[in-house]
Amino acid sequence: MFKKNYRQDNGVAYLLLAPIVILLTIFVVIPFFYSLKVSFYNWSFYQPSVFVGFDNFKFVLEDDLFLNSVWVGIKFTLMVVPASMVVSFLFANVIKGMRKGSASIVKTSIYIPTIISGIVASVIFVFIYDYMGGLANYVLSWFGSEPRAWLADVKTALPSIAVPAIWLGFGLTTLIMLAGLHDIPESYYEAADLEGAGTWQKMWYITVPLMKNIVLFLTVTGFTGAISQYELSLVMTGGGPLDTTTTPNLYILNHFRNDVMVGNSIAASLLLFVVLGSISAIIFKVLNSEKAIDG
C-alpha cells in the first residue's frame, strides 16, 4: 500500500518536474556545456574552428582589464547592496507603521522604479548628470559650487552610476523587507513592551535577528544583480572614464562586439560564472540560513 502510493507520487512528481527540467536542459544545461566546449576553440562562424586548449582562459586571466572589471564590479556591489538594504529597511519600517490607505499609496509609488527598464533609467540619469543644464549641477549651483563632471571624473563616475542602480532596486527590496516585517509575530513586540524594551532594543533584538533569512536572500540576489550590471555603464559612460566603470559583463560585451573571434568572451563569461558562484557561496556560508524560530 505504502509502496504503491510512493510510486504514484513519484510519477506525478516527475510529470510536474518535467516542464522545468526540459526547459532548463534546453536553455541552461545544453548551452552551458556547449559554451564550455567552444571556450577551448578559436570559434569562427565562417571557417573551421581551431582547438586552442586553455588559450582563451589564459588570455582573459592575463588581461589586466578583466581583473580590473571584476574589481569594479565588486566596488559597485559594495556601494549598491548595503546602501539599498539600509534604505529599504528604513522605508519598510516606515510603511509598516503607516495607516492602510497611505501605506498602499507609498508601496505603489516606491515600486514604480522597479518596472522602469535600466536603459530608460540610464537615459534619465544621463540628463540629471549633464554637465551643462543637468539637475545635479543645477542644484550644486544653488550653493555657488562649480559644475562637476559627474560621469567623466574618475572619482565620481562609479558612485554616480550606483545611484540609479539603488533607485531601480530599492522598491522591490522594500516590499520584500516589508513582507518579512509583517511575518514577525506581533506578540513578540507586545511581550517586549511589557518588559519595558525601547524602540531600538526591539529592533535590535527582535526585528533584525528575525529578518536574517530575508537579508540573506536579498544580499545574494542583490550581489549577483549588481555585479552583473552592465546597461547602466554602457549607456551612461560606455565604461569610461579610463575603464573605471567597466563592469565584468560590459567587458564581456565589448569583447563580443569587437573581437574577431568569440572564444575570448565565452571564456570570460565562464570565469565570471566561477567568480559569482564562489562569492555567493561565501555569502551563504557567512550568513548561515536557518529556519525561522517560530517555525
Binding site: 515600486y111 514604480i112 522597479t114 527598464s117 551643462m132 565604461g239 569587437n258 574577431v260 568569440v262
Partner: protein, 478 residues
C-alpha cells in the same frame, strides 16, 4: 489575528501594485514604441511585403504561374534619417523595376549591430549583404566572412573608383566591397561671430594646434566653451587617427604588426595636444555630446568644434539659423603645414556575406544602388547636404553640372583641402586604437604623458603577443 490581517492587506496591496505596474508597463510600452519610431526603422516589412503580395497577386491574375522572386536580405546600419529614407526609396524602386529579385531591407541601430550580426552568423542566418566600414574589410576578407566581388560586379564599375579608394576595398588582387561614400573624420568648425567678438579674424582660422588652443582660450567665456572634440577613450580611439598619422607619419603599429610604434615625438605631440587643450580649461570637463554629434556647437554652447564632414549635414538640417555664423576649415596640424594629414577617410561600403546563397542577386542590387546610374548616388549626396563625398569619378563629374553641388563652398573646401591629404583608416584590431586613446585620455586626466604612452606601448605589445598578431597584416604582403 493581526498577522492574517497583515497578509490580507499585503495581498490587496500586491494586487494593486500589479494592476498599477501593468498599467505603467503598457504606458511604458507605448512610450518605447513612440521613441522607437525615431530610432528603430526596422519596420520596412510593411512596405516590402506589400510590394511582394502585390507582385504575387499580379502573377495570379495572369495565366502564368506566379513569378517566384529571389529574396535577398539586406541589413543597413542606421545613419541619419535622410540616409535611411534614401535606402528605403531606392530599395523600393529596385524591387518595382524588375521581377527577379526582391530586396528585403532592415535598418539596424549601430549599438545593436554587432550583437545582432554575430547572433545571426552563429545561427547561419546572416543577411546576404550588408553595410561595412572600410576598416573592417581586410579582416573580414581574411576570415572569409565576405566574398570577393570580382566575378560578381563588372570590372568597369571598379575602374570608376578613385585609385586610393580601390585600395580601401581590396585585399590582394581582389575587391571585397563596393564603396558608397568617403568622409574625412576631422574638420574644424568655428563661430565667425564669436571670433569677431573676441578680437580674432574670422577669415583666419587656426592652422596649428597652438593657435587652436590660444583661440580657444580667448573664446571661452560667458558659459561658452572654446573647443569641443572627442575626449573619451572610445571616441578618441578613432577620431585621433588623423592627428596620429600626421604628427608621427605613421599609425600605432609597425607595418608587419610585430610591435607598437608609439614611443616617438609624433605620438608625444598628439598626447600633449589633447592634454594641453583639456587642461587649459577650454573644453568642458565632461563631453557635451559624443564626438560625431555636433549639436552642442549648433546650440551655441561651443565656439570651435572638431568633427567629421558629416557634421555639415547635421548643421544644415537641424541648425539652419546658425549657418551664416559658421566657418569651416581643415583641422589644424602640429606644424601648420596645410599638406599634413589631420583626418582619416572613413566611410561605408556594401559587402556580400561569405555564406550568402544568392551572391549574384545581392551584387546585382549593389551594382544598381552604388555603381549604377549616377542620379542614384547624387540623390544620396544631395540628401546628406553634400557632407559626404563620392568614391566614384563619374558621380563627381555628373555633380559638376549640378548647381547646388558645384557652388557649395564647404564642399569645395573639404574636397580640395582635406580629402587629398587624408589617409585610410587603420585595419589593425580596435584593441590597439583603444590602448593609444586610453593613453591620451589618462594624460588629459593628469597622468604624465610619457608614462601613459609607456603603458599603452606595453598593452599593445602584450596584445600582439597574446593574439599572435605579428605578421598577420592582411595588407602587408602587397
Amino acid at each position: 489575528m493581526q498577522p492574517t490581517q497583515g497578509k490580507i492587506r499585503f495581498s490587496t496591496a500586491l494586487l494593486s501594485v500589479m494592476i498599477v505596474s501593468s498599467m505603467a508597463l503598457t504606458a511604458c510600452g507605448s512610450g518605447n514604441d513612440s521613441s522607437n519610431n525615431t530610432s528603430n526603422t526596422t519596420t520596412n516589412a510593411s512596405g516590402n511585403t506589400g510590394n511582394s503580395t502585390d507582385a504575387a497577386n499580379d502573377g495570379n491574375t495572369g495565366t502564368a504561374a506566379p513569378a517566384e522572386k529571389v529574396t535577398v536580405e539586406f541589413w543597413a546600419n542606421k545613419f541619419e534619417a535622410t540616409t535611411d529614407a534614401w535606402f528605403k526609396k531606392w530599395v523600393d524602386a529596385f524591387n518595382k523595376s524588375q521581377d527577379q529579385i526582391e530586396v528585403k531591407l532592415q535598418i539596424v541601430p549601430g549599438d545593436a549591430w554587432a550583437q545582432k550580426l554575430k547572433a545571426a552568423q552563429a545561427a547561419d542566418k546572416a543577411p546576404d549583404f550588408y553595410t561595412m566600414n572600410y576598416g573592417g574589410i581586410a579582416n573580414a576578407a581574411k576570415l572569409a566572412q565576405i566574398q570577393p566581388l570580382n566575378d560578381l560586379i563588372e570590372g568597369a564599375k571598379f575602374d570608376d573608383l578613385y585609385d586610393n579608394i580601390k585600395d580601401f576595398v581590396s585585399v590582394g588582387d581582389k575587391y571585397y566591397a563596393y564603396p558608397m561614400l568617403v568622409e574625412p573624420s576631422a574638420v574644424l568648425y568655428y563661430r565667425k561671430d564669436l571670433y569677431e567678438a573676441a578680437g580674432l579674424d574670422p577669415e583666419k582660422p587656426p592652422t596649428t594646434w597652438d593657435e587652436l588652443i590660444e583661440n580657444g582660450k580667448k573664446l571661452t567665456k560667458d558659459g561658452i566653451f572654446g573647443l569641443a572634440t572627442g575626449q573619451t577613450a572610445p571616441d578618441l580611439g578613432w577620431s585621433s587617427w588623423g592627428l596620429q598619422s600626421g604628427a608621427a607619419g605613421h599609425l600605432a603599429l609597425t607595418d608587419d604588426w610585430s610591435k607598437a610604434d608609439i614611443m616617438n615625438d609624433g605620438y608625444r605631440a598628439v598626447v600633449n595636444f589633447y592634454a594641453d587643450a583639456f587642461k587649459s580649461g577650454i573644453m568642458p570637463k565632461q563631453a557635451l555630446s559624443g564626438y560625431p554629434d555636433i549639436a552642442p556647437f549648433g546650440q551655441g554652447k561651443v565656439a570651435q568644434a572638431i568633427n567629421g564632414s558629416w557634421a555639415i549635414g547635421q548643421l544644415r538640417n537641424d541648425f539652419k539659423n546658425m549657418l551664416d555664423k559658421v566657418g569651416v576649415a581643415p583641422m589644424p596640424s602640429q606644424n601648420g603645414d596645410a599638406s599634413t594629414t589631420t583626418a582619416t577617410l572613413g566611410g561605408w561600403t556594401l559587402v556580400v556575406d561569405g555564406k550568402s546563397k544568392h551572391p549574384k542577386e545581392a551584387s546585382a542590387f549593389i551594382s544598381y544602388l552604388l555603381g549604377g546610374e549616377t542620379d542614384v548616388m547624387i540623390d544620396f549626396f544631395k540628401t546628406s547636404q553634400f557632407s559626404k563625398f563620392s568614391p566614384r569619378k563619374s558621380v563627381d563629374e555628373a555633380m559638376k553640372s549640378d548647381p547646388a553641388a558645384s557652388q557649395d563652398p564647404w564642399r569645395a573646401l573639404i574636397a580640395e583641402k582635406v580629402i587629398p591629404f587624408s589617409k585610410a583608416e587603420p585595419i589593425y584590431p580596435w584593441d590597439v586604437s583603444i590602448a593609444v586613446s586610453t593613453a591620451i585620455e589618462s594624460a588629459m586626466k593628469g597622468t604624465d604623458p610619457e608614462k601613459a604612452l609607456q603603458k599603452a606601448e606595453k598593452d599593445i605589445n602584450d596584445f600582439i603577443a597574446k593574439s599572435k598578431l605579428a605578421g598577420t597584416n592582411p595588407k602587408a604582403a602587397q
